[in-house]
Symmetry: C2
Subunit: 425 residues, 2 copies
């Protein structure tokens, strides 16, 4: 089945807004093996939309529109569909009373303009919107022989999401016994090409199998997929995942939507351990990321952003002679920052980071992007030096990723950063 | 002139990638008053692209394609154009030698596949790519009477950017003596509807004038535009901006791309003043945002993320009796955090924030979203309480925005948060 997505809305043709709904739709469609062959954006104009609908319905078995279902004059999707397909609209008293009810529940009277949202297509299925006033529609246009379906969905992402799960995906499931199963395996602290290199045996075992490598935001994602009936495809996907675990070992930090800060948080929480931070070039971003996780107060005690020599010295106990000798951006200062945080906050672990985020401040032996990261534990202090590239914000972000990953590895490797042999089966 | 944008690339139909080039293109087009009436994404398939090109060229005077100009088999844009318009391609020896040169400069030999990139359209203008190997094209198809132009541009954003400035915008400028001038005026600490309300006199003075209000990320943007010849439109735009300054006064924190952290940094830097932070619910994000600005070490000394009662008490000197009486999320604790940071780091100002970012941890009298922000100065300590809505991350972000804006207002209002009368002219 070939699908096309039409996003309706003049604002989506402006210089600031993109049609992001199509990513969510593509995800639903991909799960059921439906190929998206075309996406388009059209303004809130009846004639343009009519033309677009006809063009798309001519070429695809499934067309999905989003947006243009609101109560204002700008909202013309239903009107355009009615013209394009010669389908009359009529007022559904039941939908009308549901819309009125949404207003009265809030102590409001329904404005007259909202009556328009109760207009539905005769002979076609109305999709009830639990999250808003605009109903959607599933128009089965297969009467001419070949299958042809038009889904008319709201543009508000939260409302769209509800209808995708409740209506579109349910229908897609009913049309086939084929599904697509997906898994994202996430690695950090490696470049994309290092990941590609390690993947060679996997590629050789599975020629033509669907595996995609994507890099960004300080992590590399390996996307796996398997198509087919659930009892066949799902075990195959699990097998792929196992092979990646065999190849990458503990360099894999998470799956699917997992974030590094949540993974680290879970590790600390389950062991009843705590952490604190002493940050120079990352400026507080490590502490901020750790506390992005709800419940992080169970294992995060506090942190210091030490932007001057004095703060490093007086609040974190960095030795001034070491600063004189090695400079603020140096291995020994990173180690002392980590130990200082640990001591100051009384935590199991301390994270210390010092570096040059740029764009200015670099020198020949300490170029922009030089970052020292250190983890202090009750028994030892580990250190790594990195040379990162990119803008100031990217370098900050990468450095936080490397620091969190270093703590993760230190814990899972049992109190050392040294890599044990990858288990093979 | 009506324009359409076609993005070529199967990856842009996937679940993760969007065609962001179209935003950049829309910006160039808008500057010259060209309306984008349609955007679409098509896969790397000759037949689909031919159909799309014909459809778009039928409807618009200007069609722009991005992508599909690379050396691989997937890159079919030129082939499709050649078929759709019956325009032969021929190998341009000069372009070929330029491509070869790019390789030899890097000590490489040009792979045979790259010859394809030297194929150009006979009788139409080739656009030289200073930033990559793929040339672009400007096809003037106006020979049938009405104006009709096709621009064929690369998909790599950096390469595209170069051709936009050098070729597309130059051509657009040549077609008209009309330009569009834009200004973004940014306000924070107000809701979108408060901004709309204050804008009423402006709307009344300028019926039908182009002003758009956009809200998000803790700020409200007022987009102004004026069309026409430079000597007429530009002064008009400046007049609009002045009227907004009269209406909003110091509630405007910046223009165009300015960020609040840069504005605050400039204020501090120019006065030789310094700042420090004591953060609870924002977890270090205020310090991180302040240090996102290059050169911030001139005015930012340091910060403490105080996630426990002990850290508040022992590192920032918050009175334990006050915590017992009012709780950690309270006005007095915020004030003591601000004063504690100021004292601890020896700065001109201290910022203190405590609150409940959620999703858990709220209660009836202190619901999720309760945030206390305080600014301590050498002479006084100011405080504001807010009730914010949204996810944990949004509440954190809003709280940092409110705190930075409070510091900004405190400085520009001369050591108080009280609003002076807006100057009128």
């Amino acid at each position: 089945m070939r699908a096309a997505i039409i996003a309706v809305g003049s604002e989506l043709l402006s210089t600031t807004k993109l049609d992001t709904n199509s990513l969510r739709l593509a995800r639903s469609l991909e799960r059921f093996g439906v190929e998206v062959v075309r996406k388009s954006v059209v303004p809130d104009r009846v004639d343009d939309l009519i033309e677009e609908l006809k063009y798309m319905l001519d070429r695809c078995e499934l067309v999905i529109t989003t947006g243009g279902l609101g109560p204002t004059e700008d909202d013309v999707t239903k009107e355009a569909i009615s013209s394009a397909l010669s389908l009359p609209l009529w007022l559904d008293p039941q939908i009308l009373s549901l819309i009125e009810q949404r207003f009265t529940e809030r102590g409001l009277t329904m404005p007259e303009v909202n009556r328009k949202q109760a207009m539905v297509f005769a002979g076609h299925r109305t999709l009830y919107n639990k999250r808003g006033t605009a109903p959607g529609f599933h128009l089965d246009l297969s009467h001419l022989g070949e299958p042809k379906h038009l889904f008319v969905l709201p543009g508000v992402p939260f409302e769209l999401e509800g209808m995708l799960e409740h209506d579109l995906e349910r229908w897609l499931r009913s049309t086939q016994d084929q599904s697509r199963f997906r898994r994202i395996v996430k690695v950090t602290g490696m470049t994309e090409s290092q990941v590609e290199e390690l993947l060679q045996p996997f590629y050789e075992n599975h020629r033509g199998e669907p595996v995609t490598v994507l890099a960004g935001h300080g992590e590399v994602q390996i996307h796996l997929q398997a198509d087919g009936r659930a009892d066949d495809a799902f075990p195959r996907l699990m097998q792929y995942e196992q092979e990646l675990h065999d190849l990458f070992g503990d360099r894999i930090f998470g799956l699917d939507d997992e974030q590094l800060e949540s993974v680290v948080g879970r590790l600390l929480g389950s062991r009843g351990e705590t952490v604190s931070t002493a940050e120079s070039c990352t400026g507080g971003l490590i502490a901020s990321r750790i506390t992005d996780v709800s419940g992080s107060s169970a294992y995060f005690v506090g942190g210091v952003t030490a932007y001057t020599r004095d703060v490093k010295q007086f609040m974190l106990g960095v030795d001034p002679e070491v600063i004189d000798r090695d400079g603020e951006v140096s291995e020994e200062v990173a180690r002392q920052l980590a130990r200082g945080a640990r001591r100051r906050f009384g935590t199991t672990y301390g994270i210390g980071v010092t570096g040059i985020a740029g764009p200015s401040g670099g020198s020949a032996d300490k170029p922009v992007g030089t970052v020292h990261v250190s983890i202090a534990s009750p028994t030892t202090t580990e250190h790594r030096k990195y040379l990162l590239a990119g803008s100031r914000e990217l370098i900050k972000r990468y450095a936080t990723q490397l620091a969190l990953n270093m703590l993760r590895l230190f814990i899972v490797r049992g109190g050392t950063l040294d890599r044990r042999e990858t288990p093979r089966r």
